[in-house]
C-alpha cells in the first residue's frame, strides 16, 4: 500500500516555506524517524521525518522551491 506524505504543519504562523535539503530519493528504504527533507521559513528550519517504514516510490518536490501546508512531499510504499 502506498501512502503520500504531506506537509502537515510548520511552526507557529508559517503557512509556506522553501524546500531545503532533500535526504531521500526514489527506491530508498526509509524507517520511522528517518529524515525526509527540510523546510525553511523565515530563518526557521524544520526537519520532516518519516512516520512509517517502507520504500520511497515518488518525490514530488524539488530543492529550492516554495511549498505550502497540505502539499504532497513524497510517496512511500509501506512495509508489511
Amino acid at each position: 500500500m502506498t501512502k503520500k506524505i504531506i506537509l502537515e504543519s510548520l511552526t507557529k504562523n508559517a503557512k509556506q516555506g522553501k524546500v531545503g535539503k532533500i535526504s531521500v530519493k526514489v527506491n530508498d528504504e526509509i524507517k520511522i524517524g528517518d529524515k525526509i527533507l527540510q523546510v525553511e521559513s523565515v530563518k526557521g528550519n524544520t526537519i520532516i521525518k518519516s512516520k512509517m517504514n517502507g520504500t520511497v516510490t515518488n518525490v514530488f518536490v524539488t530543492e529550492g522551491t516554495q511549498i505550502k501546508i497540505g502539499q504532497e512531499l513524497i510517496e512511500i510504499e509501506k512495509a508489511e
Binding site: 531545503g20 535539503k21 527540510q38 525553511e40 526557521g44 528550519n45 521525518k49 530543492e63
Partner: protein, 333 residues
C-alpha cells in the same frame, strides 16, 4: 503562565565544532519543564545555514589559507562570520515553553541596559538606527525548539566581506542564499562595552524573565568523555556534514586551449559529482569519456578529484589535456 525551571550553560571552548555539538546535545536532552540559555563564543569561523551551500557562500581559499573554520548549523538563514568579538546565545525549550517574543525580550533588555535603544526588525534581526548588530535563526523540532543568534560587540567587520564573498560565481545552487545587511558593533557606539559585561547582563536579564537560576553549568572540551557529545563533535567537524549536506547544485568551468575549446558542467548531489557534461571540439575524443568516468561519484573536493584523475591510465596524447583540466579545476573550484 506555565511554571518553568531556568537553566544557564556557558561554554569555555572557542571551538565552533565543539560549541555547535554542545548546542545540539543540550537541545536533545532538554527537560520538558526547562528553558535553557546557552552562551558561547567561537574563534574565527564561518557558520552557514542548514540549507546553504558553502561553495556558494564563502571564499573557501581565503577560509582555508587563514585557518578559519567552517561549519553548518541546524537552523535556517544565511552565512555569518564569528570571532571573539561576537557573543552567541541560544534559547532551548520544549515547544510548550518556547516563546520567541520572551526570548527576544531577554536579549533586548540586556542590550538596552547599556543605554542603547535597540529594536527588533522584520527579518529577525536586532537593530540600532537601522544597523544590524544581532542576527537570529531557529530550529523547530517535534518536541522542542531552539532560537539562537549573534551579538556583535567588537568583531572584526572587515572579515565579513573578506570571507563571505564567494570566489566561484559559476555555481547555481538550490539552497538558501544569504542576504547581506549593514552591520555594526555595539562597541562602535559605547566603546567600553565588553563581551564579559554583555554576558553578565544577559544572565541577569534571563533570570529576570524566567526566574532565578540556581545552577550555572560550564562545559569545556573535558566533557568529551561524554560519548554522545563526542559523536556530535565528529558530525560537526566532518566534511560530510558541512559540505555533503548541501542541497544539490550545478557548477561549470570553461577555457579555450590550443587543443580546443573546453566546457565542463557538474551536477552535485550530497556534495558528490552525480553527473558530468563536457562540451569540447578537441580531436582527442577518448579524453572525454575518461574524464567523465574519473569524475563521476567523486566528492567535490579538489584533492579527491586530483587523486582520481591522476590514478587513471592516459595516453601521451591525452596527458596534456588532463594536466590542463587539473590546473583549471585547482584555480576555479
Amino acid at each position: 503562565m506555565k511554571r518553568q525551571n531556568s537553566s544557564i550553560v556557558l561554554s569555555e571552548s572557542n571551538d565552533p565544532w565543539f560549541n555547535l555539538a554542545l548546542e545540539e546535545y543540550l537541545f536533545s536532552n532538554i527537560h520538558e519543564d526547562t528553558i535553557l540559555m546557552y552562551l558561547w563564543q567561537n574563534n574565527d569561523t564561518i557558520v552557514i545555514g542548514s540549507n546553504q551551500n558553502p561553495w556558494k557562500e564563502c571564499d573557501l581559499d581565503k577560509v582555508e589559507t587563514d585557518g578559519v573554520k567552517l561549519v553548518r548549523r541546524l537552523s535556517g538563514g544565511g552565512a555569518v562570520f564569528h570571532d571573539k568579538g561576537n557573543l552567541n546565545f541560544t534559547f532551548i525549550a520544549n515547544n510548550a515553553l518556547y516563546d520567541q517574543k520572551r526570548q527576544m525580550k531577554v536579549i533586548l533588555e540586556a542590550v538596552n541596559s547599556f543605554g542603547f535603544s535597540a529594536a527588533f526588525s522584520g527579518r529577525n534581526d536586532l537593530l540600532i538606527d537601522g544597523k544590524k548588530f544581532s542576527g537570529n535563526a531557529y530550529f523547530y523540532g517535534e518536541n522542542s525548539s531552539f532560537h539562537h543568534g549573534t551579538l556583535l560587540v567588537s568583531a572584526d567587520l572587515t572579515h565579513l566581506s573578506k570571507y563571505l564573498t564567494p570566489s566561484n560565481h559559476k555555481i547555481i545552487s538550490k539552497g538558501i542564499k544569504s542576504v547581506s545587511s549593514r552591520v555594526m558593533n555595539l562597541a562602535s557606539i559605547e566603546k567600553n562595552i565588553t563581551i564579559e559585561e554583555m554576558q553578565q547582563r544577559l544572565i541577569m536579564s534571563f533570570q529576570k524573565e524566567y526566574g532565578e537560576c540556581l545552577d550555572i553549568k560550564s562545559y569545556s572540551s573535558e566533557n568529551f568523555s561524554n560519548p554522545k557529545l563526542a559523536n556530535l563533535y565528529e558530525k560537526y567537524s566532518s566534511w560530510q556534514w558541512t559540505f555533503g549536506e548541501s542541497p544539490s547544485f550545478e557548477v561549470h568551468f570553461e577555457k579555450g586551449y590550443p587543443w580546443g575549446e573546453f566546457w565542463l558542467g557538474l551536477n552535485l548531489v550530497d556534495g558528490h559529482i552525480d553527473e558530468v557534461k563536457v562540451i569540447t571540439d578537441t580531436l582527442v575524443l577518448s579524453f572525454v569519456q575518461k574524464l567523465k568516468n574519473a569524475l563521476k561519484g567523486i566528492s567535490y573536493d579538489y584533492p579527491a578529484i586530483e587523486s582520481s584523475l591522476l590514478s587513471i591510465a592516459v595516453t601521451k596524447e591525452e596527458e596534456p589535456l588532463f594536466t590542463d583540466i587539473l590546473i583549471l579545476l585547482k584555480k576555479q573550484m
